[in-house]
Each structure stands twice: as structure tokens, then as C-alpha cells.
Symmetry: C2
Subunit: 314 residues, 2 copies
């Protein structure tokens, strides 16, 4: 193994988990927003975090408590280099607690960076379990529906968690996402705790019919089927309560050409899938205007479905 | 419209509903067994059933109570010919109450026959709601996971029941089914009543991960993924109690090359999917030998996945 790079700068993308009906098992990545990590070997022993920007001081600089360094440490232990000297700079370029896989983007950027420094010892898919350790630290449970698409790009199915079984799904080439983040606070842990632990079997049947329909629609590149399947009768009715004027935002998106609309991850971000960038732009504008009219600031992002996962910037 | 045929003989196939993880939403058809209907116009008014064979006297000859004639009557009402004279002969070529869609095969044969007599006024897919009326009469609820694959052939997804949304899925060309019917009695109504009405959300997540995996595996023609996804933690644990030595049959099938194994519909029939006919033959032999060793008679069927749905025999 050659330490052929002394420093590397990586971007990793935001992700939309659940995709309405696929609670805990589906997610996709977008081209923006995302986070950047600069990583370099040092002459010291162990990890340091020299800088974090864009987090308003929210994230810990202590390497044992930061999800990025904690995941990277798992990786280093795995490859038998637990004490190698590494410094991390984390540049948050997306809001924390937005439901867009913010912790996942940072963690994935860190893991992709360290794996690049070690000459791509592992595949991106093989990095998923390390990234899940970071999610456990950030959210209280080690889910994969953000980190897997952030690492692998595109649409991803987590068929099973035990054993971990991850499948890349196809999708229509031109599909775009319109994402709007209303600036209200919805911590992931609280959003999960609101969800009932038991559900009616008949409702579960309805849900897995839609999951099967969405997956079929992705394979068939059938926008109508994708849209018809983007229905969630189990989780959305509860989580949407935390999102200002959710029903209004949904009807605005669908009236303006969205093929489907829902909550991104645990919210409060919402997203629409569209057939093209223009429709996505129009939808973000309508949603932001409405949020402004009820005095809520928001951020908006329009992107293709990300096809690459993390990339090296420098 | 011309009454261009005075008489028609139709075969409609047996079907495997649920396909392990896809309770109420997935099913596929096989080439055998199946039922036959001979239908002819009469000079009289309304329907008659002149003959039923192979049912051991179990099925009603009264057209208002028989699922075949009742479904055909719905069709005739729909096309504005409620009083046309039609006679039906039903030849049961498969066991009743076997979990192989016996009532569905008869009903579908009848509907395909009457639609053929009326010059294919409706598509096979459009006949599904009429067949569901027959299922309601036979089983107490109007499910589609037998009648839709029996009418359309192949693998079928019922994405939604309200509104009805049916999707044909692809599958590996060479895939075969090994079906064994242990001759014990499991009425569909009882089999349904055993199932819990509430389930843990985390179990439902596991299940829809597998549903999504099975659908992906069918599109990708990936036998391994299909097999890994054929796991049912919600319904099989309960229903399998009614099937003699279910766990033993399962391990025998998997050890002898099955890619997946489970209960067909509400049982007691079991089925394995295989990559070829030889493996399917071997599995049915092993399963029948075991059942014989515990003094249970059985019937076995080996078939490709049916690609056509019902066919005209004469």
C-alpha cells in the first residue's frame, strides 16, 4: 500500500430517505446540497478535527464524538491502521436536522476520503456498514437509507438489515428532485418516536403494494406508476403534523406537475419528483412562496438524481 | 357484435398467490393444474350449469350460487346482455381447497369463455374485477392475487385494490415451480382468520424490504436475489402450523436446489421455485416421499411459470 496522496478533498451528496412508501428501505441521492471533507495524513498518532465550518458550532470537534471521525476510526481499525495520523476538516454545505441526510453526507465524505487515501481498498458498497456506525452515533440507530445512496449514488434498496443486503435500482435518466427545507426544527429521534410501533396488517399490505409498485415503476421507467405508488398511509400521516401546511405544499406540488411528493427522511424537508428540471424549479418556487406567506423561511434545491455518489474535488 | 361461436372450451391455470413475502399483492400462474369450462349459447333465457365433474359433488349447480356463473352474470350485466341464454359445463381438473386458486381457475375459465363468445369485448386485464366477484363468493373477500395471474399469465403485482391497479412483472424465462399438495383440509377462511390483524412496524419494514427485493429480483432475473427475498416473517409462521412438517418440507426443498420455498396462497399446498424442470421434479419427489413417510397422500405438479393465461382448447 502506498500513501500516494497527502491530502484529499471530497464532496458527498444529500439524500432523500424513505421516498414516501419505502420507510427505512429506500433512498436516493441528489447532486446538491452536500458536504465537503478535506483529509490529510499527519505526522501524529490518531485523529484530529482541525476545523468545522457551516455548522453554527453545533458539531463536536472531539474525534470520539464526531460522527465523521468515529466512522473513519472504524474503517482504520478494520484495515489494521488504528493509530495512523489523520486530520479532518469538515465543511457543512447543507442544513443540519433537515431530513436530507446531513450527518450521512459528512460521514460518507469522510469515509470516501479515507478510503481514497488508502488507494480504494474497499468498494463504496463495502463502506456502508462503517457509515451506519456514524448514523448510530448521530441518530440513535444505524440505518442505511441515507448512507447507502450517498455512497453508491442513484436509488438504493436496503432489502435487509440482517444480513445487510443492498441493491442499486435503476431510474428514469431525466428524473429530477425538487427539495424544499422549511426552517423549522424536527430532530430525527423525535420524528421516529412519534411513529406507532404496531400497524394494521391491512395497512401494511397497502404499503408493500406501493413499495412493490414504486420499485416496478423505477425498473420500468414508468413515471405514472412511480407517482401512483408514492403514497404512505403509515408514517406520513403522523410525521406530516410537524411540517407547516404539509397538505397545502403537497397539493401545490402535485398541481404544478410533480409526479409524486412527500417528506424527505424524517423531515422537515419535503421533496417532489419531476420529469425535468424546469418543473422542479417551478415547484420549489411555488412551495417557497407559500412558506414565505406563512412567515417560514426556506431553502430550495433542484437536482437530477445523483448518479455518482461521492466525488473527489481536489 | 356477431355471435360467431356457438360453443367454446377453455382452460385456465392454477396460481400461486402471495409468493411468500407478497401477501395479498403477488401471484403467478402455472401451466398445470387448471380447470376447464365448456360454454355454449342456448335458446333459453339466463344461465344454466348442465354439468360439473371432478368436484366430488362439492360445487353448487345453482347458477346464482356457483362462482363461475355468478361472475359470468356480472360480465353479462356489464355488457348489457343480462338475459342471454348460456350453458356452462365445469370440469375441475385440480383439487378444491388446495391453496392453488381452484375457484379462481374455474371463474377465470368461465369469464375467458364468455368474453371469447362475445368476440373479446374486454381485455383479460379488464376481466379481473368480474373474477374478483367470484372470489368474494368463494372465499368471503374479493382478492385478486389468484385471478389476476390466472387471467394475465406470468407474475402479477396488485399494487392497489382501491383503485384496482395491476402490473405484469417480468421473470426469468426458465423459472419453474414445484408444487406439492398434501391432502389435508385448510379452508381459506380459517387460514385467514388465524393471521393477526396487527403487526409490529419493524416486522412490516422487514417484509416490505423483501417484497421490494423479490420484485427487483424478478426484473433483474437474479435468482439469488429472488431466493433471498422469499422470506415471510408475518404470515408463514402462523399458517405453516396447519401444514404437516412444514419446516422439514422447506429444508428438503432448499437442500435439493430450490431458490425459494413457501406456502401457496392459504395452503396447504407448498411450492418451490427452481431454475429448471429437473430440479423441480427432484424436489416434488423428495417432498412426496417425506409426506408418504408420515402417511399423508399428496399430489405434485411441475410447471414453468405460465406465460399465456387462459387458452381456448376447442
Amino acid at each position: 500500500m502506498s500513501f500516494n496522496k497527502k491530502s484529499i478533498k471530497v464532496f458527498a451528496p444529500a439524500t432523500v430517505a424513505n421516498v414516501v412508501c419505502g420507510y427505512d428501505i429506500l433512498g436516493f441521492a441528489v447532486n446538491q446540497p452536500g458536504d465537503e471533507v478535506i483529509m490529510r495524513f499527519t505526522d501524529g498518532k490518531g485523529m484530529t478535527i482541525s476545523k468545522i465550518t457551516g455548522d453554527n458550532g453545533k458539531l463536536p470537534l472531539n474525534p470520539a464524538k464526531n460522527t465523521v471521525s468515529a466512522s473513519v476510526q472504524h474503517y482504520l481499525n478494520h484495515i489494521g491502521k488504528p493509530d495512523v495520523g489523520i486530520d479532518i476538516e469538515l465543511h457543512k454545505k447543507m442544513p443540519i436536522g433537515s431530513g436530507l441526510g446531513s450527518s450521512s453526507a459528512s460521514t460518507v465524505a469522510g469515509l470516501f476520503a479515507v478510503n481514497s487515501l488508502f488507494d480504494d481498498l474497499l468498494t463504496n458498497k463495502a463502506l456502508v456498514p462503517f457509515a451506519m456506525k456514524g448514523e448510530e452515533l448521530a441518530c440513535g440507530y444505524g440505518h442505511a437509507d441515507n448512507v447507502a445512496p450517498a455512497l453508491m449514488g442513484g436509488f438504493v434498496l436496503i432489502r435487509s438489515y440482517d444480513p445487510l443486503d443492498i441493491i442499486s435500482l435503476p431510474f428514469p435518466e431525466d428524473m429530477h428532485a425538487a427539495i424544499v427545507y422549511p426552517e423549522v426544527d424536527v430532530p430525527t429521534k423525535d420524528a421516529r418516536q412519534m411513529i406507532r410501533s404496531k400497524v394494521l396488517l391491512k395497512d401494511a399490505v397497502t404499503q408493500w403494494g406501493n413499495v412493490a409498485g414504486l420499485v416496478s415503476g423505477l425498473f420500468m421507467k414508468d413515471y405514472d406508476l412511480i407517482g401512483r405508488s408514492m403514497t404512505d398511509i403509515l408514517v406520513e400521516p403522523t410525521r406530516s403534523i410537524l411540517i407547516p401546511d404539509f397538505a397545502k405544499l403537497k397539493s401545490l406540488a402535485l398541481r404544478n406537475g410533480a409526479i409524486g411528493f412527500g417528506i424527505s427522511g424524517s423531515g422537515p424537508s419535503v421533496f417532489a419528483l419531476t420529469k425535468d428540471a424546469g418543473t422542479a424549479e417551478k415547484i420549489t418556487k411555488k412551495l417557497q412562496q407559500h412558506l414565505q406567506s406563512i412567515s417560514i423561511n426556506s431553502l430550495a434545491f433542484v437536482s437530477e438524481v445523483n448518479k455518482k455518489g461521492p466525488i473527489i474535488l481536489d
